[in-house]
């Protein structure tokens, strides 16, 4: 009887360890940030890229920060299915998105906690150039935006 009890206890411990371990690795080690540049179609990159009048590419960026506010991971997307990313590892706990060039932030969202919530901002009326329709003075209500989030892929 004692052997049977010991075997059941071992089985329970093993299951508990596996479940706990899987849950931990599933939520902590597989994090990423998502950034989408929005224009005509806010849900899907449609191939149209944008730049400033001085020729700098405009892109959407989402950063992941650790609990100390240190930049931990980044994703950029250019609306033409071109995305560059760095891995989040397991420590990123907040995220924030931008519409920007290498030297300018046109808009910045607030920081959000991880877990599926989406943050968004838009640039307001600014002059941008489009890869399909030349340069426009984007008027009120006509602008570029970003939505991004931190996620567990």
């Amino acid at each position: 009887m004692k052997q049977k009890s010991t075997g059941r206890r071992a089985m329970f411990v093993a299951i508990a360890v596996v479940v706990l371990g899987a849950a931990t690795t599933g939520t902590a080690s597989a994090k990423s940030v998502l950034a989408i540049l929005t224009d005509q179609n806010p849900a899907t990159p449609n191939g149209t890229t944008y730049s400033t009048g001085s020729g700098l590419a405009v892109f959407a960026q989402t950063n992941g920060f650790d609990s100390s506010g240190v930049l931990n991971c980044v994703t950029r997307s250019f609306n033409n299915h071109t995305t560059t990313s760095s891995p989040c590892g397991s420590s990123a706990v907040t995220y924030q998105s931008f519409v920007r060039t290498v030297s300018t932030n046109f808009c910045t969202t607030g920081q959000n906690a991880w877990g599926g919530l989406i943050v968004a901002c838009h640039t307001g009326p600014l002059p941008f150039c489009s890869s399909v329709a030349g340069c426009n003075f984007f008027g009120p209500g006509i602008d570029l935006g970003v939505w991004g989030r931190g996620q567990y892929p």
Partner: protein, 242 residues
């Protein structure tokens, strides 16, 4: 009852193994379901790209390594986000074949430099003309100094000055090799809650002057010209109505 006579099954080992396998299978199914459920609601291609890269190295980075990885990635991303063709651009600044093309009325280097100089001067004058909001200004100056430390040891904050709606930070880059990554780190500081713009006053990689607006405020140089656009440049394809 003797221990020696107990069959192996009584020790629970096969049951444990079976349990491990079943649990692992269950977890895998849950993760696949989660991924499909949440990622399919967004753009699949972009999220998958981000996911693939992030999971490949997930868990490797320590805190300091994470920062290095992030900044290194930003720097490597430079290939994709290089300036689109600019008049008089040098061959080294040409975009890679995979980057988007653009044939807009880009400015020459001289025009860009002149505009940046004028914009920096405009923001300098605006900063000097503002009253000081003592509470907000001191809070943001302190937060900027703290955030600058986190950007890394390759940048040194020489001065930060905030007034009512605007801040200016003067930064020296101690390592020209990390200039691009440092610039990204500056623009990614959590203290920046709105528009921001970085200038290189000496036209080299040794210093940066960063202006950033108070949350909810705009930088004057990032406001559109009041001149209406030429009608032939307006295209319905570029319009977004929110």
């Amino acid at each position: 009852m003797t221990v020696a006579g107990t069959p192996p099954a009584r020790t629970g080992k096969p049951v444990v193994l079976l349990s491990v396998l079943l649990t692992a299978l269950l977890c895998a199914l849950c993760m696949v379901g989660y991924t499909r459920l949440f990622l399919s609601s967004t753009d699949g291609r972009c999220s998958c790209t981000a996911t693939d890269v992030s999971t490949s190295l997930a868990g490797q980075a320590t805190r300091n390594e994470s920062l290095t990885l992030a900044l290194a990635s930003i720097t490597s991303a430079k290939q994709v986000e290089e300036r689109f063709p600019v008049k008089d651009a040098e061959p080294s600044g040409a975009r890679p074949a995979s980057s988007p093309t653009f044939d807009g009325p880009a400015m020459s280097k001289e025009e860009i430099a002149a505009k940046e100089k004028a914009d920096a001067h405009t923001l300098d004058l605006q900063l000097l003309s503002e009253q000081v909001d003592p509470i907000w200004a001191s809070k943001v100056e302190r937060a900027t100094a703290e955030a600058m430390v986190r950007v890394g040891s390759s940048v040194r904050l020489d001065e930060v000055s905030c007034r009512e709606t605007l801040c200016r930070a003067k930064v020296t880059h101690l390592d020209p090799k990390t200039h691009e990554a440092d610039l990204d780190g500056l623009l990614s500081m959590p203290v920046i809650a709105g528009q921001a713009i970085a200038f290189a006053p000496s036209n080299d990689d040794r210093s940066t002057v960063l202006f950033f607006a108070r949350k909810g405020m705009s930088l004057s140089v990032l406001q559109p010209s009041m001149q209406p656009p030429p009608p032939e440049l307006i295209s319905g394809a570029d319009l977004i109505v929110r």
